[in-house]
Symmetry: C2
Subunit: 391 residues, 2 copies
């Protein structure tokens, strides 16, 4: 095992109706003026926003509203929010929504207290030295952003979509009420399931190194998500299934399933170029295309991990004489599950042709400036090979 | 599932040799004067203390030493430490040792900034409003105190041993280097294994309520600890086994394995009276006596949980027609494992006779002021019945 750090300071309030306590929780921390940040119409239509406002007003907490966060959150949107935070003297940003809304809030939180373009945090030319605190009310089990140090943001000008990690990105608290996900369209639920699985899988299947408590907890989470995912797709109002997906989503991205291991999140890097260039592809949908292709590209280089995955997660009996067969059976089971919950498995099905591949590979290597490490080292040529397997 | 809160803000530095970075880590936080708190001779003999001091001196961090923490930490010791912290203007208490050393540090941390007898925090007559930060370098995988909000303290005057929970008890950071446990006597390793298992088991087997991600992670941790425990008993310098025990110990008491469930830690309550009155019994050793007896007392009232435990943790095939047999097989497997690692299983083997039982039951009910809830409600009579099963 590798030495590691673990840090997950976000306080989680989990369960039915917890969001009606938003005002009380904020008052407990002493905040008096916040930004209420959200996306489109669903939090308004569902009545959630009205209930949150009522809870704030009850405790005398004033708020400035800032809606309009979009999937694949844009830098320009965050910049507009930064102006409001500064002008209004906002003390905390409360994001009500899914990963995109939360990630926008993270960018605003660091940007408000910075004297530079916040995109420099993304390019790593600058490091945030302070940030407004953020909090979340989650409406979509998927990104894990509600507890993680990660944010993903797209630059409107360059079209680049990039991750930005910082301890300042960790929410002060997150409110997780599973019933808020009952009304999600099935496709969004399915994309969320893939995203949650991938946050664990990308830590679990890496270069050959095992750390038993980490790996067995990863398997526990993967199996819980697969079983609950099946239930939630059939019974969208099944509370236990929705609760399992929501909590597994938060656990999958606080690194619990990667501690002691070496990992690179390569499918996430490959996917960012797909949804970055083709925003009609949801992040989870892109992952469902990329991950099986990457598996097929590398599995022979790490048979022990792929065999363990097949056996422990998919209950595929081990044929010791044929590890390749075992490994492939696990990959096939993954594809079958993705298909079962309604995912497309190829770029072509997503409306993306071979002509896009070279540009995606260019962007993914930061125009030749980086190689991706994960079981095998991938430069532009290897990345193009993987994208071709996605066709 | 029940609504829950999750909060685990301690930053963990895990891995070989991490303790040589102590000074660097403290300097990163900005501390310049700390208390170095430890127990008896083992941290001196092993050379650990000297290395920690060297690391502090390198970074110009001054320290006041306070040794002498003992198993079943005493209030009088903590009070002596509080005087030193106040007189010396200590900014942070660094505990180097196991649960007892850490728990003493927790009592000192709250006591230093309080204007009352810190025992009032234990009796819940007062609540700490502030505390010095604490940090730990762990030398024993057992209590989970290095990441938990718990402390257990014994009052020298009354002989009472009680728990004290507060978010102020959560260490700012903990340094976990598994090789520091290589030289533990086998009996202490074994007591630690039992304590770690029990922190998970007491959350896992409760009243009949399941929450899949929590329960399956509990099973992953239990299985990891049992397998690694066996290895560590035979090969005390097996790094992976020691690392698994250490990390599982920290995970077992941050509540990850109890979230969404209703639990009461009744075996811990029953055990506190044993080691409280008979300090020659280590906490883990007392738990190995109490838990199987409690299981036999309640298992018929929660067969689904006991059957799941037998099947998922001990791989006992399910006989659907005879759940009692399944449940008992799981309890027997537990006893067999405890025996295998060298635990005693009865009070008499520990040198405690039937005559002690009434006094222990009296103390355990706070002299009639509380009942213990766990599958069945236990007053003094029920507690005496369980202690009798321990004979």
């Amino acid at each position: 095992m590798k030495n590691f750090q673990f840090y997950a300071p976000t306080r989680v309030f989990f369960g039915k109706g917890e969001y009606v306590r938003t005002g009380e929780i904020l008052a407990g921390y002493g905040y008096t003026k916040i930004m209420l940040h959200y996306g489109g119409g669903s939090v308004i239509k569902s009545g959630l926003l009205a209930k949150v406002k009522e809870s704030l007003e009850k405790k005398g907490i004033s708020y400035v509203e800032f809606g309009g966060a979009q999937p694949n959150p844009r830098l320009s949107h965050a910049k507009a929010g930064i102006d409001i935070c500064r002008k209004e003297g906002v003390q905390l940003i409360l994001a009500v929504g899914g990963g995109s809304t939360i990630d926008s809030a993270k960018m605003m939180a660091s940007g408000t207290l910075a004297d530079c373009d916040p995109w420099l945090f993304v390019t790593k030319e600058r490091v945030p030295m302070a940030a407004l605190p953020i909090a979340t009310i989650l409406t979509l089990a998927a990104s894990g952003s509600e507890t993680s140090s990660s944010a993903v943001i797209s630059n409107d000008e360059s079209g680049l979509k990039r991750g930005f990690n910082s301890d300042f990105n960790r929410p002060l608290f997150s409110i997780l009420s599973p019933e808020l996900t009952f009304t999600l369209p099935p496709y969004q639920t399915a994309c969320g399931i893939v995203d949650i699985l991938m946050h664990t899988l990308e830590r679990y299947i890496t270069v050959p190194n095992f750390f038993e408590p980490t790996d067995s907890m990863a398997e526990a989470i993967l199996k819980s998500v697969i079983a609950s995912g099946r239930v939630a797709m059939k019974e969208p109002e099944n509370f236990e299934a929705r609760a399992t997906l929501m909590w597994a989503g938060s656990l999958s991205h606080i690194d619990l399933t990667g501690l002691g291991k070496e990992y690179f999140m390569i499918s996430h890097q490959l996917e960012h170029e797909i949804s970055g260039m083709f925003p009609h592809v949801a992040h989870g949908a892109g992952l469902a295309v990329v991950f099986p292709a990457w598996c097929r590209y590398v599995y022979q280089k790490n048979l022990p991990a792929f065999c363990r995955y097949a056996n422990r997660v998919w209950d595929i009996p081990m044929d010791e004489s044929n590890p390749e067969k075992n490994a492939l059976a696990g990959i096939e089971a993954t594809e079958k599950f993705f298909r079962e919950i309604g995912m497309l498995l190829t770029l072509r099905e997503c409306g993306i042709g071979e002509d896009a591949i070279e540009e995606m590979a260019e962007k993914c290597t930061f125009f030749g400036k980086r190689k991706l490490h994960s079981v095998v080292v991938c430069g532009k040529n290897e990345i193009m090979d993987i994208y071709k397997l996605c066709l």
